[in-house]
Symmetry: C2
C-alpha cells in the first residue's frame, strides 16, 4: 500500500508543538507504513525564531507568519497549538474557510468559541478535532463523540487538572500543607509561578465546558461553569476525609438532570472505593456514567508535551484519512440546553465548624441545620477547648438550603469559623 | 438537520442482540436527533422464533433465515451478534461482499479469522467494526485504532475477563477458596456451568489475539497465545501476594520486543500501586503503555448485554456515518510479525515450594536456582514441619531458566510439591 501524503502546517512550537514536531520528524516512515498516511511537516509558525527547537527540525521550516502557513497552498492541514483566543481563533477560521481541517489542543479557545468554530467546521465540511484539549494524552473526546455517540450519558466526573491532583495527592500522602504541596509542584514544573489558573479551577472549568458540549451537546462556555478552587483545603480536611472513607479531589462534574445541564468544578469527597479516589499524582482520569454502558473510566497523562502530542497525532491521522476520502467526521451538534444552577443541586455535604467548646453548641448548630431541612448523617468533634471543631456529613440536601445554613451559622456566637464545605460524590 | 436513515439487519438476539434491539426501539428518535443517523431495525435473525424477546420488538421482524437478512436489499448494514465461527463467518463475508458494513461482537470469530475478514472489508471498502469483542462496553478498540494509530505502543496489559477478575477479587476480599469463589460467580450468573473458557484463559486469549492485531498489527490468532488459567491459585498465594505488595490478576499481556510480538494470558502479580491492582469485581480494564503518550488505562464493564450493546451502537453509528459519506474507516493493516515465545521472555517470578522442614533445604533449593542463573530477590518461610513452605520472589530471569529450575526442583527429595509459579508485572 502506498501512503497518502498530507502536508501539515504547525502553528506554535512550544511544549506540545515541539514534541509533535519531534515525533513527526523521527517517526514519519513508521507512521506512514503503519497507517497509510505520510505526514509531512511543511511549515512551523513561531513567535521567536531564535528560541531553541528540536534538533531535527530544519530551520527553514520556521516562520513568524502564521497567516501565511494557513494560506500556503502547500499546506493541507493545520495544527493549532499556540494557545489563547486570538490570533488562534482567526487562524482556525481562516484554515477551515480555506477547506483545511484543523487539529487544536487549545482548550481556552474551544471553551469560549466552540460553537462558532464547530459551526464553521460543519459548514466547511472539514474536521475540527481537539482530543488534546481535555485530559491531554487520554483518549476521551473521540470515545465520547464516537463510541458513545448514541449513549444516554448521565454524568461525567473528571480529574482534569494534573497540578491540583498532584497537590491534593501530595497532601494526602505526606501530610503536607496546601502551601508546601504547591511549592513542591512549582519546583517540579508541575505548577506555574502564578498557579491561579490551576488551583482556582479555571483550567478545569474550560475542560468542563468542552465536556458539556461533547458529551451532552449543551452549548456551555467556560464562564458559565460554577467554579471553586482548592486553596482552602487543609490537612485536617484530608485527614477527616480519609477517616470518613473519602479522598478529596478537584472534580469537573457535568450532568444532565431532567433535561437541564449542570456543569461545575469544585473539590469533592470521593468514596475511597470509587476508581477516581486512587488516581494519584499528576494523572488525569475521567469517569463516565451511561444509561446503557454503565460506568467507564479513562486514565492517563493529562498534560506534558509528549502525551498531548500523541493526542494531536491521533487527530491528525484521523483528519488526514477523512480529508483523503473527501469528507469529515461528525461535528458535535450543540443545542442550548437549559442550565441547572448549582443552588438547585442536591447532594451530601462535608462541613467543618470551629466552635467554642461548651455545652449546647451542638444543639444550637443542629437547630440551624434542621431549620433549613439539612439532615445530619454523621457528626464528630475533633479537638477540644480552643481547638474544638465539629465535622458534619449531611444527608442529601439542596445547595441553596446549605448556603442559607452557612449564612445563619456565621451569626452564631458559638461558631468561631466556618471551615471547609466540600460536596460529597454519590456513587 | 434531517437524519439519514440506515436500515439495520440484526443476526442474533440473545444477551447482546436483545439489549441492542431494546435500545434501537426505545431510543431511536433521541439517537436520530442527537447524531443525525436514524437507525431503523429492519430484520432480526434468530434460531428460535418462540423464545421470549424484548416486549417492544415487533414479531414480524423475526426470521429464522439469517442469509436472507444479509441479502435483503432493504438492509443497509449488518450486526452479527450470534457468536461462534460458522455460520457467522460466511454471513459476515456475504454482507461485506454485498457492500454492507458489518458490526460484530464476536471475539471468537475475529481471533480466528480476523485477517480474512479484515481483508474482505478492505477489498469491499466497507467497515468491519468490533468494539464489543474486547472488554465489552469499554471503548478500547476505537482508541487503539484511531487515537493511538500513530503511537508506538510498547505493551498492553488487560484484565479482559470479568468472571476471573470477580473470582480473584472475591478470593482477595473474603478469603474464599477458588472453588468457593467460582461457585459464587456461578450462582450470580457471572460464570457458566462449564467455566472452562473463562477460568482456563481461552476467552482472554481470544481477546489478546485481537489486541495484538489492533495495537501492533501483528497477525496473531488465538491459538498462538500462550495461555494459563487461574484454577491453581490458592488463598495462600493471595495472602502472600498482598504481604509482598501485589494483587493477583489474570492478565492478557501483549508486547513488542525488538520487533517481535509476545502475546500471553496468565495470572500475574500486579504491584498494589499499579492502577490495574484496584480493578475489582467483574470490571475489565486495559492498561496501555505508549512511547509518546505514556501510560493509559481504560476501565468499564466487560460483559453483559447492555454494555456490549452500547459498544455495538457506537460502531453502528460510525459505520452508518461512513456509509452515508460513501467510504469506510481505516482497517487494521496486519503484518506477520515474528513471535517471541514465552520461554524467551524475561521477568520476575513468584514461586512457592512445599518443603521438608529441615536444615539444608534452603541451601539445596537456592543451589538449583543459582545454577540456572535465577537470582532471588526475597525469600520467606511460611509454616513449619509438615506445613513448611518457601515463598520466593526472583529478580528478572528468563522463563526458560525458571522452567529448567522447576524440573530440577521436582527431583529434590526435600521438595514435596511445587506450588504456584506466578509472573510478576514490572512497572
Amino acid at each position: 500500500m502506498s501512503a497518502t501524503r498530507v502536508r501539515v502546517g504547525l502553528l506554535g512550537c512550544g511544549n506540545v508543538g515541539g514534541a509533535l514536531a519531534e515525533v513527526l520528524l523521527a517517526d514519519r516512515e513508521r507512521i506512514a507504513r503503519r497507517t497509510g498516511t505520510d505526514l509531512e511537516l511543511r511549515a512551523v509558525a513561531v513567535r521567536d525564531i531564535a528560541r531553541p527547537r528540536p534538533a531535527a527540525l530544519p530551520a527553514d521550516l520556521l516562520t513568524l507568519d502564521a497567516g501565511a502557513v494557513v494560506s500556503d497552498p502547500g499546506v493541507d492541514l493545520v495544527v493549532e497549538v499556540m494557545g489563547g483566543i486570538e490570533p488562534a481563533r482567526s487562524l482556525v477560521l481562516a484554515a477551515l474557510g480555506a477547506g483545511k481541517p484543523v487539529v487544536t489542543a487549545n482548550k481556552e479557545l474551544l471553551a469560549s468559541c466552540g460553537a462558532e468554530l464547530w459551526g464553521a467546521a460543519a459548514r466547511a465540511g472539514r474536521d475540527l478535532l481537539f482530543e488534546a484539549a481535555v485530559a491531554g494524552g487520554v483518549p476521551l473526546i473521540r470515545p465520547l463523540r464516537e463510541s458513545l455517540a448514541g449513549e444516554r450519558i448521565r454524568r461525567v466526573l473528571g480529574i482534569v487538572n494534573g497540578t491540583t491532583n498532584y497537590i491534593l495527592s501530595g497532601m494526602a500522602e505526606s501530610g503536607a500543607t496546601y502551601a508546601e504541596a504547591l511549592a513542591e509542584a512549582q519546583q517540579l514544573g508541575l505548577a506555574e509561578a502564578d498557579p491561579t489558573a490551576d488551583v482556582e479551577g479555571f483550567d478545569a472549568a474550560a475542560k468542563a465546558a468542552i465536556i458539556a458540549n461533547v458529551a451532552f451537546g449543551a452549548g456551555v462556555v467556560a464562564g458559565e461553569v460554577d467554579r471553586e478552587g482548592i486553596a482552602s483545603i487543609g490537612p485536617d480536611d484530608i485527614t477527616a476525609a480519609r477517616r470518613l472513607g473519602f479522598a478529596i479531589k478537584l472534580l469537573a462534574v457535568v450532568e444532565e438532570i431532567d433535561g437541564a445541564i449542570a456543569a461545575r468544578v469544585h473539590p469533592a469527597m470521593v468514596p475511597l472505593t470509587h476508581p477516581l479516589a486512587s488516581v494519584r499524582g499528576s494523572f488525569n482520569a475521567v469517569f463516565v456514567e451511561g444509561a446503557t454502558v454503565g460506568d467507564l473510566m479513562f486514565l492517563g497523562r493529562g498534560a506534558g508535551g509528549a502525551p498531548s502530542a500523541s493526542a494531536v497525532l491521533g487527530d491528525l491521522l484521523d483528519a488526514a484519512h477523512n480529508l483523503s476520502v473527501g469528507g469529515s467526521g461528525r461535528t458535535p451538534a450543540l443545542a442550548a440546553l437549559p442550565r441547572r444552577p448549582i443552588e438547585d443541586l442536591v447532594g451530601a455535604y462535608y462541613l467543618t465548624l470551629d466552635v467554642v467548646d461548651r455545652p449546647g453548641v451542638l444543639h444550637a448548630v443542629s437547630g440551624v441545620l434542621g431549620a433549613h431541612s439539612v439532615s445530619v448523617r454523621s457528626m464528630e468533634q475533633e479537638g477540644a477547648d480552643e481547638g474544638a471543631r465539629l465535622v458534619f456529613v449531611t444527608h442529601p440536601a439542596c445547595e441553596r438550603d446549605v448556603q442559607a445554613c452557612l449564612r445563619e451559622l456565621h451569626g452564631l456566637d458559638a461558631v468561631r469559623r466556618i471551615g471547609g464545605l466540600i460536596r460529597v460524590v454519590d456513587q
